[in-house]
Point group: C2
Chain length 240, copies 2
């Protein structure tokens, strides 16, 4: 791993699960993962012990793995137990959701049977806008609202599909089904599209292959108990 | 116009604004337009005098016009003042919405400024499902739910774009802005995609070019008065 020494400077942004700091290098930021957990549009709040560290380390491992498949990401190196050095991206305010199995909002919105395996993955776009409750959009909206152009969307979809294929196998080899997950992309210094944000049990649904047990934030959302244990278990398997 | 003589037989389907009857020819149906008007997911109900006849005649004129541009439609011929003979289609339960100017749900959902002209038209898909309140979907959902395959969606999008271009000019020559409209497609006997349903002030937003006055169902939705007059005026201009 590259040794990048930077110092934490001014706080740039604080979200529900992460804080981003500037460094003395204007192209590099520090992304710190919090133990705070929220769900249902922020209406449910809590803390999950060590979540910040687990998510930081899981994300770092997955970003590194994806880079080896030529998916450009913002990850540079680990900074501390619960923080990583990342490249500064101009973030596109769109959440890209990939689904392999129908559950969650897909079931609620369209009445599909929970747990239905999809013949082809579904890609969805959501506008990141808390005040508007992150409404679903499509590619035409992304272009019309000026968030990305047609070529960028094409590339984002291609990356999302590749990430899905790569991570499905990665998790399956570790006895987990990658049910669905959320990605966020941004533009690097030269305008190149890169994967940003995180990939963790906060942003992925992961089910144990044998038992079907949920190993992700749904344990928190649905009060299933053993929340911290699930994050720890995913961390263990990701590093096995 | 072709002279097609058929007799009205058993009622096949009754919706909020139309009734469809079988005829003695199993490939042909009669589509009758009602004066009933509904809005807001059926919560607002009313009647608009002569709407059935206006919508029938406007739709017939527009279908004929689109056929001359090689857009296949279900229209065969007029049957009576408020009914037309149509080809039987296997309908795809998806509403295709084309938008040229931001208004209505686009403004409500995404906070775009009302009346913003869009640089490129936006296409949206909605699942026709009253119980689920016609939720927005995308192309992947249409395929995943088995409503159409990728080639059919490509064709539907191509038709929708062509229809938009043709009708924008048609209405503009008659001093109306085609703000947005809804289309429904189905499969004919040989599986060929054809345009079905209707094209009328019930399914289009039309604004007078000079005054910006609304000449469509928004007059009913928003209690703007002169509802019947708007339908009559669109009818007059469409036949001028």
């Amino acid at each position: 791993m590259k040794e990048i020494k930077v110092k934490k400077k001014k706080k740039l942004y604080e979200g529900k699960a992460k804080i981003v700091y500037e460094t003395e290098n204007e192209e590099l930021l520090i992304q710190e993962f919090k133990d705070d957990a929220t769900a249902f549009d922020g209406k449910k709040k809590g803390k999950i012990k060590e979540k910040g560290a687990f998510n930081n380390q899981i994300s770092g491992r997955l970003f590194t793995f994806l880079e080896s498949y030529h998916v450009p990401t913002h990850f540079v190196s680990q900074f501390s137990a619960n923080a990583m050095v990342i490249k500064r991206l101009e973030m596109i305010p769109v959440e890209v959701v990939m689904r392999n199995v129908a559950t969650g909002s897909l079931v609620k919105r369209y009445g599909v049977k929970d747990g239905t395996e999809l013949d082809h993955p579904i890609i969805e776009f959501y506008l990141k806008d808390d005040a508007k409750h992150d409404p679903m959009i499509n590619e035409d909206h992304v272009i019309a609202f000026g968030h990305a152009d047609a070529d960028e969307i094409k590339l984002i979809k291609r990356y999302a599909q590749k990430i899905n294929a790569v991570l499905q196998s990665f998790f399956f080899r570790r006895d987990m089904v990658l049910v669905d997950f959320k990605l966020e992309f941004g533009r690097g210094k030269s305008g190149k599209i890169k994967l940003g944000d995180e990939i963790s049990p906060d942003t992925c649904r992961l089910w144990d292959v044998q038992s079907g047990e949920k190993l992700d934030k749904d344990r928190f959302r649905q009060d299933l108990g053993k929340v911290e244990e699930a994050y720890r278990e995913v961390h263990r398997r990701v590093f096995s």
